[in-house]
Symmetry: C2
Subunit: 588 residues, 2 copies
Amino acid sequence: MNARAMVRTSVEMFQESLITKERALLRFEPLILEQLLVPQLSPDFRGKPLAQGLPASPGAASGKIVFDADTAEARGRLGEKIILVREETKPEDIHGFFQAQGILTSRGGKTSHAAVVARGMGKPCVSGCEQIVINDVTRSAIIGDTTLHEGDVITINGSTGHVYVGEVPTVEAEFSGEMATLLAWADEVARLKVLANADTPEAAAKARGFGAMGIGLCRTERMFNGTDRLPIVQEMILAETPEQRQAALDRLLPIQRSDFKGIFKAMRGLPVTVRLLDPPMHEFLPTAAQLELEIAHLHQLRDTIKGLEELPDTLKLLNPKLYQQYSDGLLKLMGGLHTFKESHLEEDVISKKETILKKVRALAEVNPMLGHRGVRLGITYPEIYTMQIQAILEAAALCAKEGVEIYPEIMVPQVATVEELKRIHSYVQRIHKVVELTHGINVKFKFGSMLEVVRACVRAGRMAETAEFFSFGTNDLTQAVFSFSREDAENKFLPAYNETGILQDNPFEVLDIKGVGQLMKMGVERGRQTNPDLKVGICGEHGGHPGSIHFCHHIGLSYVSCSGPRVPIARLAAAQAKLLEGEYQDPS
Amino acid sequence: MNARAMVRTSVEMFQESLITKERALLRFEPLILEQLLVPQLSPDFRGKPLAQGLPASPGAASGKIVFDADTAEARGRLGEKIILVREETKPEDIHGFFQAQGILTSRGGKTSHAAVVARGMGKPCVSGCEQIVINDVTRSAIIGDTTLHEGDVITINGSTGHVYVGEVPTVEAEFSGEMATLLAWADEVARLKVLANADTPEAAAKARGFGAMGIGLCRTERMFNGTDRLPIVQEMILAETPEQRQAALDRLLPIQRSDFKGIFKAMRGLPVTVRLLDPPMHEFLPTAAQLELEIAHLHQLRDTIKGLEELPDTLKLLNPKLYQQYSDGLLKLMGGLHTFKESHLEEDVISKKETILKKVRALAEVNPMLGHRGVRLGITYPEIYTMQIQAILEAAALCAKEGVEIYPEIMVPQVATVEELKRIHSYVQRIHKVVELTHGINVKFKFGSMLEVVRACVRAGRMAETAEFFSFGTNDLTQAVFSFSREDAENKFLPAYNETGILQDNPFEVLDIKGVGQLMKMGVERGRQTNPDLKVGICGEHGGHPGSIHFCHHIGLSYVSCSGPRVPIARLAAAQAKLLEGEYQDPS
């Protein structure tokens, strides 16, 4: 029975008094709802699949066949929709994944490289489709009597493993009335609240549509990356004096304030947790390689133009008659060149890029994931966090004035020591006083800490003296507990670890209860020893995984926060966790 | 009173029955012995210092003044001895540190960037020497009436903060009779054993001279880096088939075996813990940037030669008479070019480099410290660890046959899961059987795990079912617990953290008892719950720091292992830890 039918019959069986609400909530695995929450083949479609592989990453996608990652990257960049088709994928194919709509492999299981990486990226994947014989030389694939060439369009359905010739119409996720009914029952039962991760008013509104009870993680760096903001952010980073930096921040402040106002309004009546800037500064600048290339091209262009500029004099010397004949045209050409040079090749265009390159090199890090980021930026550049805190509290004040009911929360990322949290708290208290005075209104907010650094879990007892809430960042915490960099691990050795049985699951998808879970437990226990009412949640990707949600319920978390489309799954899982709590066995 | 006098009077006061041995051992801070264990100014030297700064990193060094990091790097690479002199240093100066003998700054304290980085590198540093006025434009420094120019030689004494004009003779560390006596008393008292980190028979012998009771960490990657081995290691990495890889490993095997034999013999009667390969593969290959440069140069050279080769024909055409006159010389020149091209510019020289470049790019990682390294290599390339284990056990068998008393130990790095350890243990058991059969002799050894990944500390109870010993790698563990990359942290924000009081110490120098220490405690307790006799040590740099040694004693470690010259400090600290154990207060 498919997910849609499951949901419908569950609701109907209760309405016909055949089962209780509790039974209705326990009839199926929450994960099967995923089918209803990713793009699907159009239900009217009656075509026959050409081949059947393994459903390795859900969702449907169409695109032109491409047989290698380089071509996928090149054509994808041109805006073409691409399905990467390979015997199996390897770490060196990763750039092809980024540009592909979906991935199809003829070999490998649900833990193959292709499957793991596609799931990580949220892209559809059919793996181990063994009927397909790929010929890299003729750039074609044979399936039974059919031969497909590079550029032919196919459609894959990662939820079923089916492969179709041609483009099959797809439909976006849908949210039926029965689903709404069932999930409303789930919310009555569950003890865990389900919040969403969202960074824009639109995403927040969408998440609210999925039943999110607030925003558990609003990442401010997404706002920094907007095309209208990035130049100002870069100005701030490249500033040579505190005054220059402040000038850039002064321009960012109203933008951030209006971002926050939009999100607070979209979530009126519900909490919104804003995380202060997390990624390292160099993420907002182009890479050194890109800048080097651009600078080399500019130099080359300048040399070429210099050569062209000598053309009239040379011609005059060699053939005065010819020169006379074309002198008008030549002068115009020279004028054009001059204008071009003026506007595009000014000395300072190159030297500006050279300045950025120098800064990029100075900011370069060996292990950026463990580098100068999160609260470490907040301590070394107080003016950045100060601006963000001011934007949040001013947005809150403005909403309050307009009578919008708001519950803003300020969250500090990458905290490792009690002193870091206290330092940022002191900024917040100072700014809060100023904002209340300036706006003449009470502004309520909560102040809390991410628990994503191992040391923060160990020191949670002391952290809870300053933090009013904790939120586990289980992606970073998993990286720190395993000493695995997610990107490197999924690309280099996790598939082999899964295939040879070293690990049963990918710990970045399924929470590692025996390791990471123990630190979470420690964080909750120590935090609540200091403050029994401490709100504790999780905002890593695991917050949307049913098995992890059972564990979160078990250790007494207050909420889980996950991506918008995962909210329905999490709501059902939260209800099941409550209903089955008596049977829960801690695997550790 | 200086260190030498302290040691002497302590011994004499006991000999004159003025104090007990215990009192003699408690008379001074072990760290003051450091003065006697780094290069010193010659005791005959009577010169007057030119200036006085802060003793920021101990030891004496002479070299030519250089005022910026780029020049320091350029001249240092040419083999010149350099002292980097700057107002203050910044992260972008780091390449200058590598090439300098020592660092002198006119500003900044003992926690300034210069001080922290120099101590981390074990290089002498005088900081905050405010009498020096540096003029970057004239490339000179003025101290009172003296003007020093770039290239002038100075000597700095990082133990006292003194700066001298010219080269002052220095003496290597010395180990007096009184010191030997005092440390022998220390060994009688201490419960902790003190071992050394050493990678060669020479370093092992030297450490034994400092009183090391074994080798706690022998890093096999140092052996891979030797100039005679590196080409074979690169062959192994670049191998395209398992057979090619095995062929390279077969050549490495006898080399590693003889390395281990040398170390076992140097340490006869004492344990030697060999750590299997730890760093990621790309560390054994040139960087992508270097290869790109080399390839570009080779192409350029080939084009130039191509141009030269056309010279005779062009000359023949333009001026046959001149050509006739010089044809002999020209022919010889062309012959020379041809030979040069044959030997240096064959198509495959460039294409070989291009192959390496491709591999380097495939192996590139975002966060190499958390990437494909340690036991993860051992799982994905079993043949590498297999070769190393075979080399260790065969070396042990050969020593045993020769009647050399040996205690070899095999240690696995970067372990995060019980399954990883079991997998490597299965390799060891299989190879052990074969070696015993082949050599017809019993080979005793111990098998153990590094505890440097957070998860390994959490899972220590299960780890101890397979491991006969644990060794804390507190450098990596500190990185994981704080989510700090050491290099990035010390370069970017740790100095600011120290200066603004977020952290009292650099956690890479002084063990963070409140965070890292809690995980160590957990590791010891859980491990000993499974096996009360479990041997547990520490082989990170902290093993040589007195404060950390007190904590190691307190949590019941069996040994500390540190760099050779730190062994005397650790021996005294271990005795003091025992004598003062009643007064120990856990800061956590």
